[in-house]
């Protein structure tokens, strides 16, 4: 959907020269000392799938806003390429003529700004309708669509007000509504929720998730809030000094930070929403899972720390039955367990089954209700691993998954 290849932006009067220095390996500080040029974005590449939610994080001044502006050429790149897919085919943003660029901006990309960028001489409604006005949508229609967008951000009825009468958080949502109103397929969002209170922020996050799900929007989303990035992002890019130092799924970034900078960044993250059951679990082949014996064509397995619990699996790794202290127990999907009202703790007489992509938090919650090993299955219902207290505690303390656990166990 969006492809960035070696995107580089250098601020200053003769950026090409500075670019040569940069490519030759001169450090950014040296370039600034020698030529006064500031390297904003340094050789960033990534490729986004349609419908992907892509978060960009990094300290202040690390180049997030600059990178975002390169995507729609609000800032012309010094080097590299940005290619965006549209229904009319691929558009090379850097090479696009002024007409093509304007089409791209009116039809395919919409943007939310860190500093809102509202038009102070217009009413809230006319601000929200601005993009539609540029698209050439007739007045009546665009005011209707503006009103709908305002309702989505919880500002229904504020249309006739002046933007100056609104609080900062409300103005930010007007900016959000303006971007939503154009119904562009790609949304570029520069810290769009930074001025919102936690409650509204949560609502807006849900709204974004819904948009991505229902309308398949591709979203590039800058944020300073790690929990927000972990919650929303399919993938997260961490920027330092103009470079992307790590790009990956939230889980990967938490459990395998590539540099000390990234590790610092994610240190205070709550891992329970991010790390998956699959990652936490100990696989069947691991030495902590014993094969006790065979029963006909089936294997009888047990977790080493809970050997009194026997799990019978067939050749395809489908679970046949589970026995605790010789008694057969019931297998219950974890959601059924958690949905019980009131919750019933039956620690020893049923076993929970969970899909590998569910989170550590789900496992934690279920832990109050059962204490037999949790059975982790894949999308074909095959058993792929077991989770006991031990794995849960380890993964929380270490913010790591299987690999680290295996090292620790070894």
């Amino acid at each position: 959907m969006i492809r960035a290849e070696n995107v580089t932006k250098i601020f200053g009067p003769a950026p090409q020269e500075a670019l040569r220095l940069l490519r030759d390996g001169t450090s950014k500080d040296a370039i600034r000392e020698a030529t006064g040029h500031v390297v904003g974005v340094d050789d960033v590449s990534f490729s986004l799938k349609p419908g992907e939610f892509f978060c960009i994080m990094g300290l202040s001044g690390s180049g997030k806003s600059t990178l975002l502006r390169c995507l729609n050429r609000l800032i012309p790149m010094t080097g590299g390429r940005v290619v965006i897919d549209t229904e009319q085919g691929e558009v090379d943003v850097g090479e696009a003529g002024s007409k093509a660029l304007r089409d791209l901006r009116t039809q395919h990309l919409s943007m939310v700004f860190q500093r809102f960028g509202l038009l102070p001489h217009r009413s809230v409604r006319d601000n929200v309708a601005y993009g539609l006005e540029i698209q050439g949508v007739p007045r009546k229609q665009r005011l209707e669509r503006a009103e709908r967008a305002l309702e989505m951000v919880g500002l229904g009825g504020w249309g006739p007000s002046r933007t100056s009468e609104l609080s900062g958080g409300m103005q930010q949502r007007v900016g959000l509504a303006r971007a939503l109103a154009t119904e562009a397929q790609v949304m570029l969002m520069d810290e769009p929720f930074s001025a919102l209170d936690p409650l509204i922020k949560m609502q807006m996050q849900e709204e974004m998730i819904k948009l991505q799900h229902d309308l398949g929007k591709t979203i590039v989303f800058i944020t300073h809030d790690l929990d927000e990035a972990l919650r929303l992002g399919d993938r997260i890019a961490i920027m330092e000094d103009g470079k992307v130092v790590q790009l990956g799924t939230p889980e990967k970034i938490i459990i395998e930070p590539k540099t000390a900078y990234v590790a610092d960044f994610v240190e205070h993250a709550d891992p329970t929403n991010v790390i998956s059951a699959g990652t936490v679990s100990v696989e069947l082949a691991h030495e902590r899972v014993d094969v006790l014996r065979r029963e006909g064509g089936n294997r009888v397995l047990a977790h080493r720390t809970q050997s009194e619990v026997e799990i019978v699996v067939d050749d395809d790794d489908h679970v046949r039955e589970v026995r605790a202290d010789g008694k057969r127990v019931e297998l219950v999907p974890i959601d059924t367990l958690l949905a019980e009202e009131p919750p019933v703790a039956r620690y020893r007489d049923r076993a929970a089954v969970v899909r590998a992509e569910r989170t550590l938090r789900t496992l934690l919650e279920a832990r109050n209700l059962v204490n037999l090993p949790v059975l982790v299955i894949d999308d074909q219902e095959r058993l792929i691993g077991l989770v006991t207290e031990r794995e849960i505690i380890f993964s929380i303390i270490e913010k790591r998954g299987r690999d680290a656990l295996q090292e620790a166990a070894a």
Binding site: L74, T106, M111, R115, G117, H121, G131, Q135
Partner: protein
């Protein structure tokens, strides 16, 4: 050689700039007078129509209309003051001359807006154009009006139109400057947002820059009006009609009373126009802020 111009030290290296000026103006007059006369025509048309309308309008109707306008843009206090001011002007016998002055002011401001706003827009778009324009504007603003009265008369003949042209030269610069300033002051993040939604340059100008610059442009128009009024007496020296005439005549014949009432009418007109245009600018900016 003129006795004003001798100085023993510099006589050997004296430049006959006065001659050059005279020659240049003579040359212009000789070769381009028809062109300049043709330039007069649009101004003449505007002026004649506005003046005819104002002279035709019964004073009472004028007072009611301007009172209503003042009430709408500036509230009832200024409306009352405006109506009182024009009543006084009528009572001191200067109604007709005041209408002529008003039409001269309106005509010069109209021409100033027609010329000044586009020039201001160009200046805001291009630093080079602005750089080239700046010294010209400086010269226009600082040259004493008396200096260019003679060339103006030579090129355009005497009369009210020549007075309007002299007024335009004097009153145009602040409008250009303030238009330029207002357009440049529009916050970059607002323009960027408009760009991000695909606005063309023209759309940015019309939908973003100009509306946001309007209060500043209005301040420029206000200044232009004030400068135009300050030229009324000077313009009368080259045969322009209106309130300058009683002042100049009073001056020549030492009729203090005549000059005095001319002054009173000019001041009243100035206050009224100032308050009205200021209120207009404030109204825009309070809507806009």
């Amino acid at each position: 050689m003129n006795a004003l111009l001798t100085d023993a030290l510099f006589d050997p290296i004296r430049i006959p700039l006065d001659q050059w000026f005279a020659n240049f103006i003579n040359w212009l007059t000789l070769n381009y007078r028809p062109t300049f006369q043709a330039m007069k025509v649009p101004i003449e048309v505007i002026l004649a129509n506005v003046d005819a309308f104002l002279q035709w309008l019964p004073p009472l109707a004028f007072i009611v209309i301007i009172g209503l306008i003042a009430y709408r843009v500036a509230g009832w206090r200024i409306a009352v003051f405006t109506m009182a001011a024009f009543t006084v002007i009528g009572m001191i016998g200067l109604w007709g001359l005041t209408m002529t002055t008003l039409s001269m002011v309106l005509a010069s401001v109209l021409v100033c807006v027609i010329l000044g706003v586009p020039l201001g827009i160009l200046a805001a778009r291009s630093d080079r154009f602005r750089g080239a324009l700046r010294p010209v504007l400086d010269v226009m603003q600082t040259t004493p009006a008396f200096v260019y009265l003679v060339p103006v008369v030579m090129l355009f003949s005497i009369g009210t139109v020549a007075g309007v042209i002299a007024t335009i030269i004097f009153a145009l610069p602040p409008l250009i400057r303030l238009t330029d300033l207002g357009l440049r002051q529009v916050p970059a993040d607002v323009i960027e947002a408009a760009e991000a939604f695909g606005s063309s340059e023209r759309e940015i100008l019309v939908k973003v820059r100009l509306p946001l610059a309007l209060p500043t442009v209005m301040a420029g128009i206000n200044q232009t009006i004030m400068l135009a009024l300050s030229m009324v007496v000077i313009a009368a020296l080259i045969g322009a009609g209106g309130l300058g005439r009683p002042v100049v005549e009073g001056l020549n014949a030492l009729r203090i009373g005549l000059a005095g009432i001319g002054g009173v009418a000019i001041v009243l007109l100035a206050i009224v126009l100032d308050r009205l245009t200021q209120a207009l600018g404030e109204e825009r900016s309070s809507n806009g802020a």
